[in-house]
């Protein structure tokens, strides 16, 4: 085939340009470590890299969300734990106070101590986190618990924030105070017993229990003493359900409820049974403080006080159960959070591996390619140099 002289130059230059452009591409890859320099190099890979990049940033956001949640849950758990300790101390105090050998003076000291414990509990219930937010106020940003002349008030709401800790995985932030410190059913959790305020004897009533679930109606009943030995059992409408002879410590059973009365009742003394009501830790402790203040110079007062303290102790038990329940729920959330943190960390590594597989350069391959291309370019250059000298005119 005929060859035009311009073709010899053209072909050499073209081959050198080709080699150079490949070389510069390989060089850019080696310099950045990225296999994909432009999305067009690998459109599918480039889109995947974008998607994975977002996934990676998301996973990192989830871990930062998780860290925030973790510190908040720790704070809640600690605060609830401290509150439980307070209640346990108060319970011990109540048992001490119920001991008849205790003097009036030591009872006064107990009362001071109790007031202090109530203050500490209030401080715990109004705990603020590092950012100054009250952890038990739900969605509100006010101190959740405060006292006024009518007793304790809840200023928060029922809100519980959820935080995003994984793809479509949310976990609750701290519980609202209304669920932690409030909503505690008094008595034994089913029904409560209390002496009538006008009682004059020193008899007191125990906590009682539900012995027959099927018969339990939650209705109100009263036990009225005709004299210190005879009683009658009345229902809410005042109708006599039962009459009998009283012996100290004897059990009364009505509508599935069983309860015992001890001590010596006076004629006309009454004891009431009613369905449990929702109360809160502060009211429980306030009632205990009120009981501490009852002077025990009269038998009637002794009975009132013993019943009241007994009631408080059972209410404190209910409150402790309630708080332990909350604490274990927080604990369960912390475990779930830890699991999710592990999952996120695993996902993070997996995404990075995928990303690296798609976009990272295989250096060994690239360097050998680079050398090959360099050799190619050098060869093209040397061929050009040699061809250039070939001309018949040199021999004329």
């Amino acid at each position: 085939m005929r060859i035009a002289s311009s073709q010899i130059y053209g072909a050499s230059i073209r081959s050198m340009m080709d080699q150079q452009s490949q070389l510069s591409k390989t060089q850019a890859q080696l310099a950045t470590g990225n296999r994909i320099q432009n999305p067009a190099d690998d459109p599918i890979g480039a889109v995947r890299v974008q998607g994975l990049g977002r996934s990676l940033e998301r996973t990192e956001q989830y871990s930062s969300n998780s860290n925030i949640l973790d510190s908040r849950l720790r704070l809640e758990e600690e605060t609830v734990g401290n509150s439980i300790e307070i209640l346990q101390r108060v319970r011990d105090m109540a048992i001490q106070a119920n001991n008849p050998v205790h003097s009036e003076e030591s009872k006064g000291a107990l009362l001071v101590q109790l007031k202090q414990e109530i203050d500490s509990l209030l401080a715990y219930a109004n705990t603020q986190d590092n950012d100054g937010r009250y952890i038990f106020s739900g969605y509100q940003n006010a101190a959740p618990f405060s006292y006024d002349s009518n007793g304790i008030n809840y200023n928060g709401d029922d809100g519980q924030r959820q935080l995003l800790i994984g793809p479509a995985r949310t976990l609750g932030d701290s519980d609202p105070g209304s669920k932690v410190f409030m909503g505690i059913l008094d008595g034994n959790g089913r029904f409560a017993t209390e002496p009538d305020a006008a009682n004059t004897g020193d008899a007191y009533i125990a906590l009682g229990e539900v012995v027959d679930n099927a018969a339990f109606t939650g209705g109100d009943f009263s036990i009225e003493f005709i004299d210190s030995e005879n009683y009658r059992l009345l229902d809410a409408g005042g109708a006599v359900v039962e009459t009998g002879v009283y012996k100290a410590g004897s059990e009364f059973t009505v509508a599935g409820m069983s309860v015992s009365i001890s001590g010596t009742p006076a004629a006309g003394d009454q004891f009431h049974l009613r369905a449990a009501q929702a109360t809160d830790v502060f009211s429980i402790l306030d009632n205990l403080a009120d009981a501490f203040e009852i002077a025990i110079d009269q038998p009637s007062a002794r009975g009132q006080r013993t019943s009241a303290i007994n009631n408080s102790i059972s209410n404190i038990d209910q409150a402790i159960d309630h708080l332990i329940n909350t604490q274990s729920k927080v604990g369960a959330r912390m475990v779930a959070l830890e699991t999710q943190t592990d999952i996120n960390a695993g996902a993070n590594i997996r995404i990075q591996e995928n990303l690296s597989e798609i976009k990272d350069l295989d250096y060994a391959e690239a360097i050998s390619r680079f050398n090959q291309q360099m050799a190619g370019l050098e060869a093209a250059q040397s061929v050009f140099g040699k061809l250039q000298n070939l001309s018949l005119f040199n021999y004329l």
Binding site: A4, S6, Q7, A11, N38, R54, D131
Partner: protein, 628 residues
């Protein structure tokens, strides 16, 4: 002897011509488009003397232009194709890098933006998290604006390319017409005299092919007629027709290409190939679609977040407002419309939105809708075109006011301005509605085990959404709403009241009650912020099949695939062009070694002829000496 002298002389002259041609070839070895010339000798007819014919020397019968018409046509076609792809690849690479750069692409900004929503959700009362969210929103907005501006500048670059290509085409066609004229005037001249003119014309046609696909027809008088598009003549013999660009009626930023002597007829869509065809097709296939697609993503982001923010409560306890502002559909009409109708279009359903533009035509009786890109008719749209009952086409609601005349048309570009106008209108971080509009609560004295879920706002536009509602149980299976009615209770079944949905689980006691109320003072609530964060994953685009990130990925992928395919095709086409030019060069190109050999050959023939003259001289001298 006289024969010897005249024969030698004819050889001298012929070889001189041959040497001149060779030197012409050598001189033009580097001239672009030059076809080498070759001298043909032929023997002159001899003279008969006494039954013998004695040769009477040589003559140059022809100086041939060495070319192969087929190779030339192939080169033209390959040039048109490769310069089209070159322009497309060049433009696509710019767009590709813009859209998909890991640091500058939309994905990175969307990612930071959605993360900042989660930061607000973590700490809804924190002003710094809210401030960061607004800053990220602003950055995202700027990025939408930037990408849109880059598309616009690419669009403007294309228009400039179109203008300059049209100017070049006009220049080349007038050159070709001039050469046609010269050729037809000198067509009587035989031989190689026109070779260089032909080369120039071929070169001009090749350059023209690099600009746009043409077809040509050679005439008997040697002139060539040039046609473009659907057969519109640019060159007829010695006359050329100019092209010119005018503003498009559809889009004033766009050019329409017309014949200068017939401006009413738009040639634009019929032009293909070459750098002009490449630029035009890029504009049609990529620029328009990319801008619309980007706009659709912007509309979807803005609408989803505005709607969600409007559903919640801000730190002031008020219903949220719009975070973003975004331009609505662009409606335009050509000046040829004669009626007085005006159209108003708004986007009402981002899910149904497409990246295509809509054309509405009035045929005198009814309105017809067409897809402007494909030209296909859109059937099955609803509405009557009034404000109360607008046409709903692809998620766009269109109402018509005034009367249209038959033949009037309107162009509706739903998302063309969206990305460029995407801006943050919220300036006060407290206005971010992180809290839900309502909340539920259990009354503190409840004794049953029933628990109420948080409220879920299912209908933010319900006028009674934030009215207080109480759900009170008269027994374990029956409840009342606001103290009235009697509704059967099933644990776990959702209850929807005034646009709020709640679920009650467990066993309530008689007298237990639950309230739904306005979420006042709830600056620690993050439910609405969580809902905003969740918009990232909602499949709100393309008929509910794509999320925002899917759509961005699809857009980037589309441009990348286009770039990739132009790159691959360009390489193939460049190779074809190279082969065609090799083939052409192998016929027409000058080989200097060949010319050197010819030089020696003709020089030797010349010397030999001179020697023959010298011999003739010797003979003559011998003869003269005989008489001395």
């Amino acid at each position: 002897m006289a024969d010897l002298l005249s024969n030698a002389l004819s050889s001298l002259v012929s070889n001189q011509r041959a040497l001149a041609t060779t030197s012409h070839n050598i001189a033009n070895a580097g001239t672009e488009g030059y076809s080498r010339q070759e001298v043909s000798f032929s023997a002159q007819n001899g003279t008969s003397i006494g039954g013998l014919t004695i040769g009477s020397g040589v003559k140059v019968s022809e100086i041939r232009r060495m070319y192969d018409q087929f190779a030339i046509s192939q080169l033209r076609a390959a040039t048109a194709a490769s310069s089209q792809l070159e322009v497309q690849h060049d433009l696509a690479t710019q767009l590709d890098n813009n859209l998909a750069d890991p640091d500058l692409g939309l994905t990175a900004f969307l990612s930071q933006f959605y993360n900042s929503i989660q930061d607000v959700a973590n700490e809804p009362a924190s002003l710094s998290a809210r401030q960061l969210f607004l800053a990220e929103a602003q950055t995202l907005g700027n990025r939408f604006n930037d990408v849109s501006a880059q598309i616009d500048s690419l669009d403007a670059e294309i228009s400039e390319r179109v203008d300059s290509a049209v100017a070049e085409i006009n220049d080349l066609t007038s050159q070709i017409a001039d050469i046609n004229k010269l050729l037809s005037e000198s067509s009587a001249v035989v031989g190689g005299g026109n070779s260089d003119l032909l080369d120039q014309r071929d070169q001009a046609i090749l350059k023209l092919s690099a600009l746009v696909n043409i077809s040509s027809a050679e005439q008997d008088d040697g002139s060539i007629n040039i046609f473009i598009g659907r057969g519109d003549a640019l060159v007829l013999g010695g006359n050329s027709t100019e092209l010119s660009t005018i503003r498009s009626a559809e889009d004033p930023a766009r050019r329409e290409i017309v014949l200068a002597n017939n401006t009413g007829f738009d040639l634009t869509d019929s032009l293909n190939g070459g750098s002009l065809g490449g630029a035009l097709s890029f504009q049609r296939e990529i620029i328009d679609v990319t801008r619309n697609e980007l706009g659709r993503i912007a509309v979807s982001v803005a609408t989803a977040l505005n709607d969600q923010n409007n559903a919640g409560l801000d730190l002031y306890g008020q219903r949220g407002q719009d975070i973003f502002s975004i331009a609505g559909p662009r409606v335009s009409q050509p000046s040829s419309n004669t009626g007085g109708a005006a159209l108003t279009a708004t986007i009402t359903d981002t899910t149904a939105l497409t990246a295509q533009d809509i054309e509405l035509r009035f045929n005198g009786a009814s309105w017809q809708a067409f897809n402007q890109q494909s030209g296909a008719q859109i059937t099955g749209f609803t509405g009557s075109g009034t404000v109360a009952d607008p046409f709903v086409i692809d998620g766009v609601s269109i109402s018509v006011s005034g009367a249209a005349n038959a033949g009037d048309r309107f162009y509706i570009k739903p998302t063309v301005d969206a990305a460029g106008s995407f801006s943050v209108v919220m300036t006060d971080p407290s206005r971010i509605a992180a809290a839900a509009a309502t909340r539920s609560e259990a009354v503190l004295s409840n004794t049953g085990s029933a628990k109420i879920s948080e409220t879920l706002v299912v209908d933010p536009s319900n006028p009674n959404l934030m009215d207080p509602v109480s759900i009170s149980f008269i027994d374990a299976t029956t409840y009342q709403i606001n103290g009235a009615g009697s509704f059967a209770y099933t644990s776990g079944n959702p209850i929807v009241i005034n646009g709020n949905q709640v679920t009650i689980n467990g066993i309530p006691n008689a007298g237990d009650s639950f309230n739904i109320a306005a979420n006042t003072g709830a600056n620690g609530d993050n439910r609405n912020a969580m809902a905003m964060a969740a918009t990232e994953d909602l499949k709100n685009l393309v008929g509910g099949t794509q999320s925002i990130n899917d759509a961005v990925g699809a857009l980037v992928g589309k441009v990348a695939v286009y770039t990739r395919s132009t790159e691959v095709n360009l390489q193939a086409q460049e190779n074809l062009k190279y082969l065609a030019s090799e083939r052409q060069a192998s016929v027409s190109g000058v080989n200097l070694d060949e010319e050197a050999a010819n030089l020696i050959r003709y020089q030797q023939a010349y010397s030999a002829a001179a020697q023959a003259i010298s011999t003739a001289n010797d003979l003559f001298q011998s003869l003269m000496g005989a008489f001395r």
